[in-house]
Symmetry: C2
DNA sequence: ACCTGAACACCGTTCAAGT
DNA sequence: ACCTGAACACCGTTCAAGT
């Protein structure tokens, strides 16, 4: 069901995600879905949780494989935007207004908290090695998050001019971000 | 109708914006609204256009009243986030996924383009006075936009931890943003 | 345990009919 | 010109009934 929901959003957009269509594609009646999820919000939340799990893995992987040094955080920024661009259906559900109502539960989930923690961990490590300003790590993490989230949202919502390459903007953002927070 | 739509979103959330409720609050049948707007999207677009008009005015005003000098752009960043926080209903419609389908027309509107242009104008002026890196102004503007948009979206969607003050984060963002792009 | 089909209370939208 | 009321094709959700 979760996979089918993601495929449906990817193919037809988030507005086309209806329980009827999910059921139809799975060859089952719409009411049958209620045997597996409490309601539509629960299905959407499951997609969001899967997304946060994937994002967390992508961020940790980016940190792990990045060369140590002052630029080690850059990989996480690139990985974040790339995740959003490569998994727009997940990202839209994770941060869309549709989830705003029930966001408390999803935001409090281990998956979501851990994804953010991966960034905080990286910041603390870079501060320890003297590569980053000794600001409050959580505040700094929120700032970095806002930057990459802003780039991702503008890209996904088609708000960037057509001649602008997302990867190029992401690269520029990483450069200016780095200059702004480096020690 | 536009005012009533904004009031309704403000009071009940964007999901509660229905033509039936708007009509009911105006003491008129739902079908009567079609005499003034082609469909619901057209009403939503009108709210978005009003929002971009207000945002443009707020940005230009912030630039006009800011003290000249290297910090003159900071006021625009603060004004942007403040606009989003003070007019969440407008902002949500302007940048929400609901408008994504028809965003081409709204994004191409004078109101929207002018709001962005206000930022580009400020950047060019600051570069001329030697306060800013001589990067491509449009690219720089997109980066700054991403930063303030990211802060605004996280704040509006309730994604910030409860102990985080939006104004404080906006201030920190402005500081780090400035360091990253100053000459 | 899992599914179906009908029903209910909502949507946006259309259209003939009224003033 | 502007509005109404009924109708249509959609939603999510519930529930008695089936296997």
């Amino acid at each position: 069901m979760v996979d089918e929901a993601v495929r449906l959003i990817h193919a037809e957009g988030i507005a086309a995600l209806t329980l009827r269509e999910v059921g139809s594609r799975l060859g089952v009646s719409r009411s049958a879905l209620y045997r597996h999820f409490a309601d539509k919000d629960a299905l959407v939340a499951a997609v969001a949780l899967e997304g946060f799990r994937m994002l967390r893995a992508a961020l940790r992987e980016a940190w792990r494989t990045a060369a140590p040094g002052p630029r080690r955080l850059d990989g996480m920024g690139t990985a974040y935007v790339r995740f959003a661009v490569e998994h727009p259906s997940h990202y839209r559900v994770m941060f869309g207004a549709d989830l705003a109502a029930m966001s408390e539960t999803v935001a409090a989930s281990d998956e979501s908290v851990d994804a953010f923690q991966a960034l905080v961990d990286g910041i603390v490590a870079q501060q320890r090695d003297g590569h980053l300003r000794p600001d409050e790590p959580k505040q700094l993490a929120l700032y970095i998050w806002a930057v990459v989230h802003g780039v991702a949202m503008l890209a996904l919502d088609g708000r960037l001019p057509p001649d602008v390459d997302v990867a190029a903007l992401s690269g520029l953002a990483n450069e200016r971000l780095h200059t702004g927070i480096a020690r």
